[in-house]
């Protein structure tokens, strides 16, 4: 029974009552009461139904709102992201004259910005503030300027020539090493990046130029690039890290070429080798400094919860003055097994050694042993802790702890 029926019943009863009081018996109070009860129940049902409909409308509104926001994200041609990491170092110097390292530093604050012009043409950039503070006062290289740097690490246009070929032009990360191109803090173990890639490769290393990426076969990729080069100096002992010009009004007297072959056909395995060549390592400004070649190879293997990273990198640099400094040979390697217990926890150990003066007669090797863990608060938010024991053959030892927190999005 519904309200309409109830009303009809009442009306019918009223009409019947007015026209034929004698013929049809008037409804009793009990009957009227029953009808009223039925009407009350119907009203209650209708209210419930109405509330349910209201809820459905609200649900659809929420769903639509969420779907539209997600759809905008999918369809958006411009996008941004970033990463950052805060480090606390507490290392004690061992031996006379070796200073402690006790500091806290917002090491990197990075913003990405990219734009897709067409499906096959895009722009990508990475803008970085290192060490949190840059003050533009005082002379260059003085503490007045603050410890930091503002850097444009990537700014390139990438064109998909076809399904297997990409051409990249602009300022891009060099195709070398494990961490040079992928170094968001949630993607690696250890608070600080390993010293081999930092001092030998030297990561993070970017140059300006043009690069061709060709997928030769499924899982076999070749990168070849013509780029700006390094400008090493005698004052900085011909270290490649100090030779980075960062594409900042950089000398282009001597350009460089780099090639990389990368094999990723087996899930969990990456094998790669890079070769870099520059005709004049010092851009023609240092007598006794000649050409430079760098070779790097690495393996990354992940199987279930186990991961192993292994890397070797070496430089050979020509020139009498370079040789006299023992910098004609510079090399290093590291091994880093790690175990991911679950989504949250992972632990690692690392052995690393490098030498920026391996051509010299004195032992200048640097060694470090690390052990630590990562705790992923979220898939791309990580807290880190490690203990490191570093020894320098000619300059004392340091050991202590590092604590860090990092994110990317």
């Amino acid at each position: 029974m519904n309200i309409k029926k109830s009303l009809k019943g009442l009306v019918a009863l009223a009409i019947a009552g007015s026209f034929s009081n004698a013929a049809i018996a008037a409804p009793t109070n009990a009957e009227i009461f029953d009808m009223m009860q039925e009407m009350k129940q119907e009203l209650k049902n209708l209210k419930a139904e109405n509330n349910e409909l209201k809820g459905t409308v609200q649900e659809v509104a929420v769903s639509t709102d969420e779907a539209i926001k997600a759809q905008i994200k999918l369809a958006n041609k411009s996008h941004w992201g970033g990463y950052g990491e805060l480090h606390y170092n507490n290392l004690e110097g061992q031996g006379p004259g070796v200073s402690d390292t006790k500091k806290i530093d917002f090491h990197r604050f990075v913003l990405y910005f990219g734009h897709e012009f067409r499906d096959d043409l895009r722009f990508f950039s990475e803008f970085e503030l290192e060490h949190a503070l840059v003050k533009d006062i005082g002379d260059a290289d003085t503490s007045d300027n603050g410890p930091g740097e503002v850097e444009l690490e990537q700014a390139y246009i990438q064109y998909d020539y076809n399904e297997t070929t990409q051409i990249t032009g602009g300022l891009f990360l060099m195709p070398i090493g494990i961490m040079n191109e992928t170094h968001e803090p949630d993607t690696f173990y250890g608070v600080e990046r390993n010293t081999v890639e930092k001092n030998i490769i030297p990561s993070t290393w970017w140059e300006g130029g043009v690069m061709l990426t060709k997928e030769l076969k499924p899982g076999l990729t070749l990168d070849v690039a013509l780029t700006s080069g390094l400008e090493a100096t005698d004052a900085k002992k011909y270290k490649p890290r100090d030779g980075r010009q960062k594409v900042a009004s950089a000398s282009a007297r001597s350009l460089a070429t780099i090639g990389r072959l990368k094999y990723t056909a087996i899930p969990g395995l990456e094998l790669a080798a890079s070769l870099f060549n520059q005709t004049d390592y010092c851009q023609g400004v240092v007598v006794g400094c000649g050409s430079a070649r760098a070779f790097e190879t690495h393996a990354v293997y992940k199987k279930d919860k186990f991961q192993l990273r292994a890397l070797y990198a070496a430089w050979k640099i020509d020139g009498d003055d370079v040789k006299a400094d023992g910098a004609d040979k510079q090399n290093g390697y590291y091994l880093e097994p790690a175990y991911r217990f679950n989504d949250k926890w992972g632990a690692f150990v690392r052995y690393e050694t490098y030498d920026n003066n391996d051509g010299g007669s004195t032992d200048t090797e640097v060694e470090a042993r690390s052990i630590g863990f990562n705790y992923w608060i979220d898939p791309t938010v990580v807290a880190k802790f490690d203990y490191v024991d570093q020894s320098k053959a000619n300059n004392g030892d340091k050991d202590g702890i590092n604590i860090g927190i990092g994110y990317s999005f």
Partner: protein, 178 residues
């Protein structure tokens, strides 16, 4: 010393040769949605059906994906207990289109149909995607560990996300009263 273009002529010629000998398919679209569905049902695809993402279904999909799905309705194809899905998910910055076939609450096949990220395309290789064959849902997670590709972590997460969603929606349809 000045830059001598002649020294790099070999490099430039090699580059041009590599570009020229390449095949001429547009990068990105490996298979169209229609072709995937047609292939999945041996050239006799059923009419498509659709499911509205409301209430608990919407909430569950958002949980499995890690964020709300970019649509109110998801199209699917069903025939003889097998369901096929075309789902999009962002890897790092760009949407990747996946085709997924589910049978007996397990993944029968997953394929990258369109990829537009600048890195991580290795997830399209059959050697990688075949890891998903026979994978089901255990709670809110896949019941098997998938070995990633270095540098393609975000693409892997995207593929895991759409796999979970397709498996859940297949189960949801199977459990619905006929």
């Amino acid at each position: 010393m000045t830059f001598d273009i002649k020294k790099y002529s070999l490099f430039i010629i090699a580059t041009l040769l590599l570009v020229t000998v390449s095949s001429l398919f547009a990068r990105g679209v490996y298979q169209t949605d229609e072709d995937f569905i047609s292939e999945a049902f041996l050239n006799k695809p059923p009419e498509n059906s659709s499911i509205m993402l409301g209430g608990d279904v919407r909430k569950k999909v958002a949980l499995l994906l890690g964020h709300p799905y970019g649509g109110l309705i998801i199209k699917y194809w069903v025939k003889e207990g097998r369901t096929a899905w075309i789902l999009k998910e962002i890897g790092k910055t760009e949407p990747i289109t996946f085709g997924i076939v589910i049978k007996n609450s397990k993944i029968e096949k997953i394929k990258v149909l369109e990829f537009r990220e600048s890195r991580g395309w290795e997830v399209k290789y059959p050697a990688f995607t075949k890891q998903y064959n026979g994978v089901g849902l255990e709670g809110d997670k896949l019941d098997k560990n998938i070995d990633g590709v270095s540098g393609a972590t975000l693409s892997l997460w995207a593929m895991n996300g759409v796999s979970r969603v397709a498996l859940y929606l297949h189960q949801h349809l199977s459990n619905k009263p006929k």
